[in-house]
Point group: C2
């Protein structure tokens, strides 16, 4: 008969102690495979504990497969395969003092730089915290049923409708909310697109361009090429030369050079997408090409009207429009979206609508109200003014500093960044290194050309930043 | 000289009207390619408007590529490629009365069913709205800097630390928070895993099993097979027969049958993953196999201790643990996670850490506090009690109803669902149809076996639901 003594530690229930002891004996071989365990009643009597306690232990051992039962015969030890690497499988500890790896949960990612021109983050002060909090509170108290309802695969209707109205009013794009798909950042949007369009196609991005897109193509295991851009944008002949099927493009404000694709090139690009010059016979969905129009910072054009989108001049369902709130609202709120032409939306419904929308209903609804109640428009206006102020100050300070004579600044009319070319003898590597040593994070996009993202820079650090940049040049 | 008259409508700025008129003339051919436009000064004089107005219009036309300028010569009309499909590219409308497609943004997805046994949603009343709102409010007022800081690719440290502590205390799993990757639901977790492990492998899921996983494999373009389960779980020989590299499994509570994989089969499964029986020489990362352990509802075991995870008895870095808050908290909050073995985490850092975490920092931080301040544990306990109550009532009502004699219920000890087998003559299709006609949504997992997800069912509808089910059988 098994004989065990129990610990006085009241925090571990008796049945758990018994379970653990029997299991240890099974794992150590003390109780060999197929040996008969005492009946619940007799073990309880023997150990002076209740039958219920033994029953609970046996049930747990049964559930985990350490023992098995035969009808009207009782309980037996299982023949557990002993691999060389076996460790005690218990693992289950209810002891609250038995802490996991020591760590401080409040350990934070502190900003590392005095200013970081490589960051697309927004300044803390630019986020509309009080309005966001107000909407949040309201929704959490008034919309509990909606918050617990799974949104359709392509996102909450209320958010899609708000986006459609916004696109219409401020971007001149008329879309049906049913054609909008909500995603959690560029990553999820592009992954979904690849799953929708196919893995056997040749994808392309602009060169120079948004580096992340080609990384996403690579990670998703699709062939992809880079298409050089000239001063009007992506070079059309290169698309044909490289047999591209899908091109990711930033026509309104090329990333990173800031070029706006002129209307002529836009029509050339649309025309390219209409051609079916594939040598292989293709059919159905993929008998023509697609343009992914990434309109990532169209809200931040500082002069003139926003540029009409490719999407709005496409009559042949060749353009997939995508945009994001990560630039205009906060990079830490992961909401972006794409607009699919009808035939692709049908395809999405057939193939991919089993997916859950990756964005929580809570944030979808908050953003929907934020847009439809007019806060988003006000926020954009405020952001635009603040960004223009930063840009103007930054440019003025650069132009009044000693590096002015060797500086060429391009495309400062739009977006949240510009390119500064420094005609210097110093190598880019040592310049970047010296900048970083003085707390200025900066990156080159080509020889002597540096990207200045200024959205995260506090206005009052701009002068000092330029002083440090000046000092870094030798 | 161009001659235009302007509308009295003060809501459209003059420069925009002029821009529009010139553009229309360009698009219609009235102004042919390469024709010279009047100088700004002379056009302004001619139209009795300011030079600034003309300049703004020209700048917009320039920016969009409708015209070009030659130094010291002036402005010329671009040669815009005219495709057959050209439409007016303007699209930009600032007229607030010009509404997009009519739609009611408040149109809602109303619950369609009296009760829906197919839904994994949670009852509205089960979500801890007041605590969640309290934490939300606190974070939005006190943690603004952190909220605007991009979280690492694998998620906010504070959330990963809270999960690690939770896993340790309640699931007996010791993990380093650095090995945790936060995702937005099973979809994003499995997509990332495929990108990490490779596209040339054979993936597998259990049969019967979690249908969505094989859909995700298909959508991600990887070969995948189904591995039958017997009464102990996945059949090991079938894994070898089908040359499986990666198996998705639910050992703690097989979906949907509810089987708990016994410890013997667990070690057999781990042993399978150690074997390198591929006929092709493989190297590096993929010289062995992996098990994706989906522990999706381990919180809802009603009797005994939770089953130790495969992950906790794996000494050879073969198990990837995944779990989700979509079951335990709310299906509308899209937060899930996986724990990678060290060597895979290294690989993730090298290959995929360029990704942004798909979950917003706001929700990551709220959930982190929700867990670390003890609310999650309390919530789980409350949910467990509520679920047990529902399950007990549902089972009691079924057993007291006239279908009791033809009913077999399996695996009611765990999770948020059970399987009801109805030994009836009626076809499953007509039974399901009749149930649906009476407002009961239900689905079959195999002949005469129906899945009862009860998490979304209000307690007070259970009796009526069973009455309607009884009536549907003929």
């Amino acid at each position: 008969m098994l004989s065990y003594s129990f610990s006085d530690n009241k925090s571990i229930p008796l049945y758990e102690q018994l379970y653990q002891k029997i299991k240890n004996d099974i794992m150590s071989g003390e109780l060999p495979a197929d040996s008969n365990l005492p009946s619940k009643r007799s073990l309880a009597k023997n150990l002076s504990i209740s039958v219920i306690t033994v029953e609970n232990s046996y049930n747990q051992l049964l559930a985990e497969g350490y023992i098995y039962s035969l009808p009207r015969k009782g309980f037996y030890v299982s023949d557990i395969l002993r691999t060389s690497g076996i460790q005690d499988g218990s693992g289950v500890s209810r002891n609250p003092n038995n802490k996991a790896t020591t760590l401080s949960p409040t350990q934070r990612q502190k900003p590392q730089w005095f200013v970081d021109f490589t960051s697309n983050a927004n300044e803390t002060t630019s986020f509309p915290f009080s309005n966001w909090a107000k909407l949040n509170r309201k929704i959490l108290s008034e919309e509990q049923e909606l918050l617990m309802t799974n949104s359709p695969s392509n996102g909450l209707l209320e958010l899609r409708a708000a986006i459609a109205n916004y696109l219409h009013g401020f971007r001149g794009i008329s879309v049906n909310p049913d054609n909008i798909i909500i995603g959690a950042g560029t990553e999820t949007i592009i992954s979904i697109l690849i799953q929708l369009l196919g893995y056997d196609l040749i994808y392309a991005c602009e060169d120079p361009g948004y580096e992340k897109v080609s990384l996403i193509f690579d990670a998703n295991n699709v062939r992809n090429v880079r298409i050089p851009v000239d001063e009007q944008g992506v070079i059309i002949d290169e698309l044909s030369n490289k047999s591209v099927d899908i091109i990711h493009s930033t026509p309104s404000h090329h990333f990173p050079t800031g070029i706006t694709m002129p209307i002529k090139r836009r029509y050339e690009l649309l025309n390219w997408a209409m051609k079916n010059d594939s040598t292989e016979a293709q059919s159905g969905l993929h008998n023509s090409k697609y343009i992914i129009e990434d309109d990532y910072d169209s809200e931040f054009r500082f002069t003139g009207l926003p540029i009409p989108s490719l999407f709005s001049i496409d009559n042949n369902e060749r353009v997939i429009y995508m945009n994001t709130f990560t630039k205009s609202l906060a990079s830490t709120i992961r909401i972006s979206y794409m607009v699919l032409p009808d035939h692709l939306m049908d395809e999405y419904r057939k193939k991919l609508s089993f997916y859950s929308c990756p964005v929580s209903t809570f944030e979808q609804l908050t953003l929907a109200r934020f847009i439809s109640e007019g806060y988003y428009e006000k926020h954009i206006n405020r952001m635009r003014t603040a960004s223009r102020k930063k840009r103007d100050l930054l440019l003025r300070v650069i132009r009044n500093s000693s590096i002015a004579t060797i500086s060429e600044i391009s495309e400062e009319q739009a977006g949240l960044h510009f390119i500064l070319k420094l005609n210097m003898k110093m190598s880019d590597d040592s310049f970047i290194k010296k900048c970083r040593e003085s707390g200025i994070n900066i990156t080159a996009i080509s020889t002597h050309s540096f990207m200045f993202n200024y959205s995260s820079i506090p206005l009052n650090r701009i002068e000092e930043a330029v002083v440090r940049i000046n000092r870094s040049i030798s």
